[in-house]
Structure formats: structure tokens, C-alpha cells
């Protein structure tokens, strides 16, 4: 689903001495099927921005169009329920939002709310549990008896159970061990492709942004600071460092190597394998066995 954000401004605590601008004049177009990464340091406005995408926050001025639905300032939006079905948000530490007695009931909650029958919701719970890589045997268990990594998967299954067309991920791998981190990101990436989703990933990991995103938006002080492909964004290290960010470790390595050799090398290799191949070719003078 296309997302078009026009002149979006958001102020917190309007009319009080604490009033402050959290977002200012944001203009963004996210084409259907895009994997967008939003990066920026804490307080740059990333979370405020994504909360506008399913109407959790409403603009102070400006509009957000999600497909044919428009969220705008001041309007009482009757369409929010259907919007929330189409736009799923996985918040930070989503396992903190688990609440029901069993894993099955927890995942069924969303579909039931949106009008699915008991049988349909049950079926959905099974399907989603398999999708996130958990055994069906845990359906009848309490979500609170599971490990942290399993709880997070159950929470994610609950969001996916609503069949969203747009998936918003707010640092979905925070606190996970390195293996879990890769597994969860791969899960989202496969879903993105398989279900043709529009995905918005908020992340502190430049590596994840470089690996998965088609497009990156850099936020700073409530404004869009940079916007472009990973290649464009990560070719401007000075500009990123000026706002406390950096290029991914792959690019950092290539820059160090380039400094040492004095020979130019393509800096847009974002995966470890690409970097190894580029280095190998340079060392073997274009050898074919790389």
C-alpha cells in the first residue's frame, strides 16, 4: 500500500509551557512494496513518526495517506479501525504486551476483534505460530512461561495474525542475542517478500538498514535529514557522523582498507560476502576464483 506523508507536523502538549515540536514538515512517499529503514538517534522523532502511520498519534497539521485512507489534523477519524487492521505495529519489546492465559488466546485476540469467527481465529493462531517458527505444542501454554525469545515471537505472531499490508517494526531485535537477532530479521524479510508487504523498520543497526532496506530515511531533530538508497546514504559518512550515526561496519572496513592501500575500492558492498569478494578480487588482481 502506498504511503504518502504531506507537511506533517506534530507538537506535544500544545498550549502548555512544555509544548514542543516533535515532527516538523515531514514529506515522504513510501511506494507499495518498499522496505524502508528509518534511522536517527534517540529523540530524533522516529517513534513519533511511525505512530502516525496507524493513527495512534494524529498530526497537528498535515496529512498521512495510507492507500485510500487519509489521516489529517483535527478530523475525527472513523476509519481508524480498518486502518489498524491494515497497518500492524510491532513495538519495542513487544513481549511486554502479551496478556492472555494461553499463547493461542493471545494470538487470537486481534483476529477476533476484527470480526473473525472462533474457528477462523484458532486456525490463524496455528498458522502464525508455525510462521514465526514455534512448535504448535505451546499453543495451550501460558505465554509467560516461555523464554524471552519465544515470547517475542508469540507477540509478533499476534500482529501478523491480522494480515497487515503494512508492517511497522520499532527496533524489533532490541535485547535479543545475536542468533535471535538474525532469525527475527530474516523472518520479517521473508514475510516482506512473500506477502508483498510495505515494511517500515526503525533501527539503530546500520547493518540491518544496509542489508534489508531499499530506501533509508535519516531523522534528526524532528525533520527528515537525509533520504535515499542505502548506497546514497552510506556514501556520506561525514554527514551521518555529524548526527551521531555512522556507516555499517562493512563500509567502515572498506574505508580503512582504502586508506591503507591508497587504491579506490567500491564502497557500496554492504554484506560481508560482498566485501570479501571485493577484497579478494583486488588482492588477486581480478582473479576469477573469488
Amino acid at each position: 500500500m502506498d504511503i504518502v506523508i504531506k507537511q506533517l507536523t506534530h507538537r506535544y502538549m500544545i498550549g502548555t509551557p512544555f509544548e514542543r515540536v516533535a515532527l516538523e514538515d515531514i514529506n515522504l512517499q513510501i511506494a507499495s512494496g518498499t522496505f524502508l529503514a528509518v534511522i536517527g538517534h534517540t529523540g530524533s522523532g522516529k517513534s513519533t513518526l511511525i505512530q502516525h502511520l496507524n493513527g495512534l498519534l494524529k498530526p497537528t497539521s498535515g496529512t498521512i495517506a495510507i492507500g485510500d485512507q487519509i489521516i489529517s489534523a483535527g478530523k475525527n477519524n472513523k476509519q481508524l479501525k480498518s486502518l489498524r487492521k491494515r497497518v500492524g505495529i510491532v513495538f519495542q519489546y513487544p513481549e511486554h504486551q502479551l496478556f492472555d492465559e494461553t499463547v493461542e488466546k493471545d494470538i487470537m485476540f486481534g483476529p477476533l476483534n476484527f470480526g473473525a469467527s472462533e474457528a477462523e481465529a484458532k486456525e490463524k493462531a496455528k498458522e502464525m505460530l508455525e510462521l514465526v517458527g514455534l512448535p504448535l505444542g505451546i499453543l495451550s501454554r501460558s505465554p509467560f512461561e516461555l523464554s524471552g525469545g519465544q515470547m517475542r515471537r508469540v507477540a509478533i505472531a499476534g500482529v501478523l495474525a491480522m494480515d497487515p499490508e503494512v508492517l511497522i517494526l520499532d527496533e524489533p531485535t532490541a535485547g535479543l542475542d545475536p542468533k535471535g537477532r538474525v532469525e527475527i530479521m530474516e523472518l520479517f524479510y521473508q514475510l516482506h517478500q512473500k506477502k508483498n508487504l510495505t515494511t517500515v523498520l526503525v533501527t539503530h543497526s546500520m547493518e540491518d538498514a544496509a542489508t534489508y532496506a531499499d530506501k533509508i530515511v535519516v531523522m534528526e531533530k524532528g525533520k527528515v535529514y537525509m533520504e535515499g538508497s542505502p548506497k546514497q546514504i552510506f556514501s556520506e559518512r561525514d554527514k551521518l557522523q555529524a548526527v551521531g550515526l555512522d556507516v555499517p561496519e562493512t563500509v567502515q572496513f572498506l574505508l580503512k582498507w582504502q586508506n591503507r592501500t591508497g587504491e579506490a575500492i567500491d564502497l557500496s558492498s554492504f554484506t560481508l560476502d560482498e566485501v570479501a569478494t571485493a577484497l579478494c578480487k583486488q588482492l588477486k588482481k581480478g582473479g576469477s576464483s573469488c
Binding site: 538517534h41 534517540t42 523464554s147 542475542d177 542468533k179 535471535g180 561496519e249 572496513f253 582498507w257
Partner: protein
């Protein structure tokens, strides 16, 4: 090297009818070292941290901190003075209404007299470079700054050990760096022992010693150079290899004759430069 903490045959379960989170763990923490503890989610790392200052008491075995036993209630305050923990969430640890009040909180608990308190607060806040923010309210601080205030609160008690329990995992890259650099300086300049429980392998490679936890057991300990060579063991423990090690291995596979896997980018660049 002087032993600060010794963990002897420690097992721990939250409830009697539940499987043990820690099983027969034996470890020693030495004075002045930076010790990284890594392991998968649920491997028992954080439980171990809580056993080190008596927040939890072992189900079996003993934890001795500078001669004090965590299982003895009358020795607990001596232990808590010596071992401070910085937890994961910066917002859950700020108890004061300003930086000054927050650092004072712990001292009040220990009954430190006012004059002494003022000196200690100033000194602690200076060490974490937050002296410009003494009167700042918590919501005006970044996550990294809040964690530095938490560290100052510990420093004011003049501890010998600081434990970071995934203390940088909720911070952005900048906040992460400022916290690690603050603690690194305390470790190097003041000789404070640091135990860092972390998922950040790039941080762990800078430690003096690394302990790998898996399913409640310490399965390996050694210098980072040694521990991070064993890729199979690390992946089996739910971890990953540091970037430079992975790149070294990938280059070796492509027929680049690197003599070993390197831990840091700088070392790998030098090794490749020598080859070219």
C-alpha cells in the same frame, strides 16, 4: 592477581519445582579486570549478575565478595557498597528528580553525612562527565546520559566492581559509545573492576577476559583472542562471530592465505596489507 569475587559450585532456580537457571557454576573475578559475559537469551547471564551483589541468593553453592558471603544477611550491605549494577532500561533506574538527587539517593541509604555527600556527588558526577547537568531533570537527558548518571550513583558509593547488565542494549550507537567509554576510563584510570553482560560482540572483544554461558553453564572462558576463534562453539551457544573474524574466515575460504582470524578491523587491514 587478587581475587575479588569467587563463585563456588553455584546453582540457582527461581522456584524449587522449576529447572535450574544456573548449574554448578565456578568462576573467579579478578581485581582490575574487564570481564565480558556473553550468552544466548535465557543462558543465565543476568541471573548470575544478580547473584553477585546478593539480589539473589544461590540455591546451592556460595558467592564470596571480598570475603563477604552474599547468603549472610548481615554482610549484604558491605557487598552492595562494593558491587553496583547498571541495568538495561535507563528509565527504570532514575529515582531522583534531578541528577544531583539521583546520585544522592544511594548515599542517603548508606547514611553518609551531608558534607561528605556533597564532595562525593561532585566527584562522581565529574567522573562520568555530567557535571554540567547536576540540576537537570531526567526527561531532559538522553538514554546514554541517564546511564552515566546511574554509573555516578554507583561511583559515589566508592565501589570496587561495576556490573553492566546489558546496560547499553536500549541505547542508540552514540549513547552506547559514551557509556562504554565512560566505564573504560573508570576501569583503566581508577582500577575499577568491570563485569559487562552483553550481546555486543564488538564490545566483548575489547574485554580482558570473556566467559561464554550456555543453558546455565559457563562453557568457556579465556581471552577474547582465544574465545572468538572457536566459531562452532559460539554459534552453538546462540552467538555469532565478531565482524572481523567472520571476514577473515570468509577471505580464507576464498583462498587468501591469512594466517589466522583477526579480532579487530585494524589488525585485519594490516594483515591483508602485508599479503598484498
Amino acid at each position: 592477581m587478587k581475587e575479588l569475587i569467587s563463585i563456588n559450585d553455584v546453582s540457582f532456580a527461581y522456584r524449587e519445582d522449576e529447572p535450574a537457571i544456573l548449574k554448578d557454576v565456578n568462576l573467579t573475578v579478578y581485581a582490575g579486570e574487564w570481564l565480558a559475559i556473553v550468552g544466548h537469551n535465557g543462558s543465565g547471564k543476568s541471573t548470575l549478575a544478580k547473584l553477585l551483589n546478593g539480589l539473589l541468593i544461590p540455591t546451592a553453592g556460595r558467592v564470596i565478595v571480598e570475603g563477604y558471603d552474599t547468603a549472610r544477611a548481615d554482610e549484604l550491605w558491605e557487598i552492595r557498597k562494593r558491587v553496583g549494577i547498571v541495568f538495561q532500561n535507563p528509565d527504570n533506574q532514575f529515582v531522583g528528580t534531578s541528577v544531583r538527587d539521583d546520585v544522592a539517593f544511594g548515599l542517603e541509604n548508606f547514611g553518609v553525612v551531608r558534607e561528605e555527600m556533597i564532595t562525593r556527588i561532585d566527584e562522581a558526577v565529574r567522573k562520568v562527565k555530567m557535571e554540567k547537568f547536576l540540576d537537570a531533570e531526567p526527561h531532559h537527558l538522553s538514554g546514554g546520559q541517564k546511564q552515566r548518571v546511574a554509573i555516578a550513583g554507583i561511583l559515589a558509593q566508592k565501589p570496587s566492581i561495576i556490573i553492566l547488565d546489558e546496560a547499553t542494549s536500549m541505547l542508540d550507537p552514540m549513547g552506547r559509545k559514551e557509556v562504554i567509554e565512560t566505564v573504560k576510563a573508570l576501569n583503566e584510570q581508577q582500577g575499577i573492576t568491570v563485569i559487562s553482560i552483553t550481546h555486543d560482540l564488538e564490545e566483548a572483544i575489547r574485554a580482558d577476559r570473556v566467559i561464554v554461558m550456555k543453558q546455565g553453564k559457563a562453557i568457556m572462558q579465556g581471552g577474547p583472542e582465544e574465545v572468538f576463534q572457536d566459531g562452532e562453539m559460539l554459534i552453538g551457544a546462540g552467538l555469532d562471530l565478531p565482524f572481523s573474524v567472520k571476514l577473515s574466515l570468509s577471505l580464507q575460504k576464498k583462498g587468501i592465505p591469512l594466517p589466522k582470524a583477526y579480532l579487530t578491523q585494524e589488525e585485519l587491514v594490516e594483515a591483508l596489507w602485508t599479503l598484498s
